[in-house]
Amino acid sequence: MRALSAFFEKNGSLLGAYLILAVGFWILVLIILPQLSMLDISFRHNLPPALVGSERDVYTLDNYRHLLHGNPGNPDRLSIFGYETSIPLNRVDLAVFVKTLFVAILITLFDLILCYPLAYFLGQSPAGGSARIFVLLLIIPYWVNEILRAFAFRIIFGTSGVINTVLLGAGLIDQPYDFIRENVALYAGLGYAYILLMIFPIYNAIESLDRNQIEAARDLGSPWWRIHWRVVIPFAKPGIVSGCTMVFMLTAGALAAPQILGGPSSLWFTQIVYQWFNTGQNWARGSAYAVVLLVTCIVLVLALMRAFKVKMGEIGK
């Protein structure tokens, strides 16, 4: 209570009330309520509107069961070390689920390796000057709509696209390579989509690192890699974890890039969710799939933070 009155004293009653209302609305109405209702729907049967609220509208684990076991009569069985059990296995959906998470992790790592040197360069160059132009160059492409950017990638990576034309012209290949079928375009697009969310948290963290510490380490004889290993990376750790978290979450939850850039036989887990909601008209099942994705991602992120000993508060810095 004292904290609340101090908050109002500091900000004035009008601004204080606005802040509390705005943040409350944002968290409660835009985040908590929709997620809770999705959680609720995920435990219900997919009923026609007339039956909603009737005695048949009861809670069930069917939707979650479906992700694990598939439709009744699914012939696939779980096998452990080659020994086939009697448990039915939804091999298709689970494979997509695991692949989505695995690829999202790889893309996050790739983005980290790509962005750390950039962020270091930006964070350690003097304010203004070339660094500012560089940041601007990074930001401007993001003024273009995400879907348009994905289509641009489709054009670049198409069989008659720039890359194939150049490779053919240089004589490196004798027929066009199908980047889209091989998912190269998808991974490139996903890797590019959230790059800024990796660069900026790391840049922010490194920017506040005292340059003298780097020089001190060098003066004490340290080669460049050890300076990064012992001084810069530990300092930038909250930024690195924050960037990885955001890139991983958004990549695992991406929809536009997989829809546009995915090869004909490739599915992203969000596309399955999307299908249940849209073409499948089964919101309950879509919700269950979405909840599983969300919870798994949160668990992975928390595990990452724990492994790297980063506290939640540090990420907010």
């Binding site: 003298n212 060098r218 003066d219 004490l220 004889g221 012992r230």
Partner: protein, 371 residues
């Protein structure tokens, strides 16, 4: 004391674009001595330090450490260790890891590193504090950790960039003594950068006074203070009253200067101006506030000035008396507090007497700052 490694600056120039930060510096620093660069901020002293440590390549000229040209040798390969103004300790490492970082770089085992860190912790009187974080130490303790971290690299030359400037007065005075003691103990060459003349004079074997990229004088502290080579040194190191005028006569190492406002005054010709100062030259005569004493009211000669007391400050160890001579000439006198009461009331006229040997005559030149 072991024979330390000397450092030479040989016709060293450092330019940043059109700006000349260091102009033709020639200094020979003897092995094992405590050498200071003293000057106002922006005079180029830190630039020299960075050139010695290897963070900066000279535009021209050479830096030699132990007679070896350092051109092209990076900061991590030079036998120097730098203590930064803000210390730049690694905040995420424990105290002992900070200290032993140079050994970690060399690939020493954890046990060796710990042992060496503990030895150095003992040297800096912080025994048993190795497992703390840097943030848990006080300012003076961090200072000492920074010294230990640099010493752990076993440098031939330790470079210190105003490391005491962030400490409070008492601690600073204490650390001066301590730094000097550590330097004597380890016997390596210390190069110290400061704008604080007190630090430079108390600790150093030799001091180089710098002004706008130029080294005006290199000498021991006593010489710097008593026989400054230029008006800049005379006015930057300690306080000085300056009387401008023309040389009227030169006799026996003394000169009589016809000053603009205070009549003819006699002073000793500075060592740097001996033999070159001639009658008719524009000159400056410097008298330190503490060189004045109160003379007899009827003393009128070339080592006395009549002035009127304006106001007086009590500084503890001394009274600062501000006076006004003829034509508004401002003069400051400092009288050691020996228990006497105030000199006399504002407005009264007194005679300021001085020993001509304590007054210094230099050719006209640039002052540290014009008041």
């Amino acid at each position: 004391m072991t024979k330390g490694v000397g450092v030479q600056l040989d016709q060293l120039w450092i330019r940043f674009g059109d700006f000349v930060a260091v102009r033709d510096a020639n200094v020979s620093i003897r092995g094992g001595e405590f050498f200071s660069f003293l000057g106002p901020s922006g005079c180029g002293k830190t630039t020299i330090l960075r050139a010695v440590s290897g963070f900066l390549e000279p535009s021209q000229g050479r830096v030699l450490i132990g007679d070896k040209d350092m051109a092209g040798i990076g900061a991590n390969k030079r036998p120097t260790a730098l203590i930064f103004q803000n210390l730049a300790l690694f905040p995420l490492m424990k105290v002992w890891e900070n200290i032993a970082f140079a050994l970690e770089v060399k690939g020493a085992s954890s046990a060796d590193r710990r042992r060496r860190a503990d030895e150095l912790l003992e040297l800096i009187a912080l025994k048993g504090q190795g497992d703390k974080l840097v943030s848990e130490l006080s300012g003076g303790q961090r200072q000492r950790v920074a010294i230990a971290r640099a010493l752990c690299a076993e440098p031939d030359v330790l470079l210190l960039d105003e490391p005491l400037s962030a400490l409070d007065l008492k601690l600073r005075q204490h650390m001066r003594t301590e730094l000097r003691a550590i330097q004597r103990q380890v016997g390596i060459t210390f190069i110290y950068i400061t704008h604080d003349q007190g630090e430079a004079l108390t600790m150093s074997d030799h001091v180089a006074v710098m002004r706008e990229g130029v080294i005006d004088q290199v000498a021991d502290g006593k010489t710097i203070y008593d026989d400054p080579a230029t008006p800049f040194v005379a006015s930057f190191v300690g306080e000085n009253n300056v009387f401008r005028g023309k040389v009227k006569s030169v006799v026996d190492g003394h000169a009589i200067v016809a000053t603009n406002r205070s009549g003819e005054l006699r002073g000793r010709i500075a060592g740097s101006a001996k033999g070159t100062l001639a009658v008719g030259d524009d000159a400056m005569l410097f008298i330190r506030p503490e060189a004045f004493s109160i003379g007899a009211d009827d003393q009128i000669d070339d080592h006395a000035i009549r002035a009127q007391i304006r106001h007086e400050e009590f500084e503890g160890q001394a009274y600062n008396v501000f006076l006004e001579g003829d034509a508004g000439k401002e003069i400051k006198m400092s009288l050691v507090n020996q228990g006497q009461s105030r000199t006399s009331a504002a407005g009264s006229n007194i005679t300021l007497a001085f020993d001509p040997d304590q007054a210094l005559v230099l050719p006209k030149g640039q002052m540290a700052s014009e008041h």
